[in-house]
């Protein structure tokens, strides 16, 4: 890994999603994301008040979203990460009905993941999580 270039981020957030996070933080306090797998509302990130969802050895901290003057950590379960680690994740938001206990549901929208593959250069420079 080059000393000059910082390791690439694994996660990012769109402007629309960031605006929503500012509104949600005003209501709920500090927030976190855990990327879900599985049926129904799975394969989409869940947003909770930070600490509501217990993370531990079974999880990977992918990174933090920088929003306004605060950050939002993004987590994923370790075994799921094995299949996702070659992709960069951007958290976006679309109109929808919401899901699980994710806090944005009553706003009539739903967070969504947009993925792209890391380039070879990025892949070489990524840090371990």
């Amino acid at each position: 890994m080059s000393d000059d270039v910082p390791a690439p981020a694994r996660v990012a957030v769109t402007e629309a999603a960031a605006e929503l996070l500012v509104r949600l933080r005003a209501k709920h306090g500090d927030l976190m994301f855990h990327q879900s797998g599985g049926c129904c509302d799975g394969s989409s990130p869940m947003c909770y008040p930070d600490g509501d969802f217990l993370t531990g050895d079974a999880d990977v901290h992918l990174g933090d979203l920088a929003v306004d003057d605060f950050t939002v950590p993004v987590w994923m379960s370790r075994n799921q990460f094995e299949y996702w680690k070659h992709t960069h994740l951007t958290i976006d938001v679309v109109p929808g009905r919401g899901a699980g206990f994710s806090v944005e549901a009553p706003e009539g929208v739903r967070f969504l993941i947009r993925s792209r593959l890391f380039t070879d250069e990025e892949w070489a420079a990524l840090e371990e999580v």
């Binding site: 855990h34 797998g37 909770y48 206990f101 009553p106 969504l112």
Partner: protein, 507 residues
Amino acid sequence: MTVYAAPGTDGAIATYRARYDHWIGGEYVPPANGQYFENPSPVTGRTFTEVARGDADDIDRALDAAHGAAPAWGRTSVTERAIILNKIADRMEEHLEELAVAETWENGKPVRETLNADMPLAIDHFRYFAGAIRAQEGSISEIDGDTIAYHFHEPLGVVGQIIPWNFPILMAVWKLAPALAAGNAVVLKPAEQTPASILYLMELIADLLPPGVVNVVNGFGAEAGKPLASSPRIRKIAFTGETTTGRLIMQYASQNIIPVTLELGGKSPNIFFGDVAAARDAYYDKALEGFTMFALNQGEVCTCPSRALIQSDIYGDFLADAVARTEAVKQGNPLDTDTMIGAQASNDQLEKILSYFEIGRAEGAKVLTGGHRAELDGDLAGGYYVTPTIFEGRNEMRVFQEEIFGPVVAVTQFADFDDAIKIANDTLYGLGAGVWSRSGETAYRAGRAIEAGRVWTNNYHAYPAAAAFGGYKGSGVGRENHKMMLDHYQQTKNLLVSYSPQKLGFF
């Protein structure tokens, strides 16, 4: 060919109210905070009713009603309870078409499925558990000549149930039937995507159940689901949905030390061994239908056969036939009995599926058919429709590992038996699997080697009562559709009785 009139139009056999309150204590009760949320039909994308937006206060009121009803219901004889469950089944059967239309409107699935699968299965579920509870017995152990251990099954009391949106009425019934048979009172929170059809059912059977035995509180997960799952006033929580919420529910349950059953989804492999193509006969035709089952319920099934593994020696021809079969799937108005695939349940589901088309292509998977949103005409133009899609690629790609929850199948080939099993088991999940082979031995060995709770063998997507259903690995805890469910909703009382008048000699 019948086209049912949409609820709210002339000639409709099912009509929804303009607004729904909660169902508490056998009647409609307005939400404590006075708020409602809109409920669109996925068929058109337009709102057709508004539903109470429940919160912790409403959950408490529902729990009050459930606790009020639970003691008497728990003491009702199993004969009496079974009679009631059978009456519920009969009532539903009398109104089957109406319920089917109501469910299609709420969820978007084709009326062909609600008429032939959802409603008949739900009706039968009540009948199965009516029989199971009558046949259940406790047990006796003779410890010694003076000491007998009596084991009784007792209800838990009041339980919480959180239901998904993919089969709204059927998923509610899978949980309600055993819970009620076992003598519990229930507070049920439907999915916010599909809050109304269960109320349609509750109204229909209102006179059959004592008030407070089943209570329905609608709302958003964080506002109504969380207070229910974390309430110290329930003795058990049951949930069907995805992994992260499942974990959160277990967390809440741990705070109150209550049992949890979870059904969490899968990435089910559908395995086609080479001998399937030994002849182009009825069975081969059935196998092609089996492949196309990924489109059932628009792919919104936890056991969607979303990975197809085809043996190399038949790969080219079988896949060509499978693509043709997929392209023959009729998309259209869900209220038309000819339509085979309806609308996805919500806009965000549609968006998620479309985002998977992107990542699939980015990873190098090839689209053999479909791969885009479906544009329908007229009233349906605003609905949430997707073309049935086949991706071709490798098992480590994300479209092979993640639950897309749409009419999308990822296809790959395998060399031999061991290769098939290796690929099949290379997944975080273990809910369902399909095995297709003319050889009983191959089918049996494959079924025993696959790490999944349900292995369909020479069939798929059958959910009869009496066949236990549940997951291995990351797919959840517990089994539904079987009398063993009664154990999940009961606790054992042991009376350890001494018939001897003599002291032991300790004190």
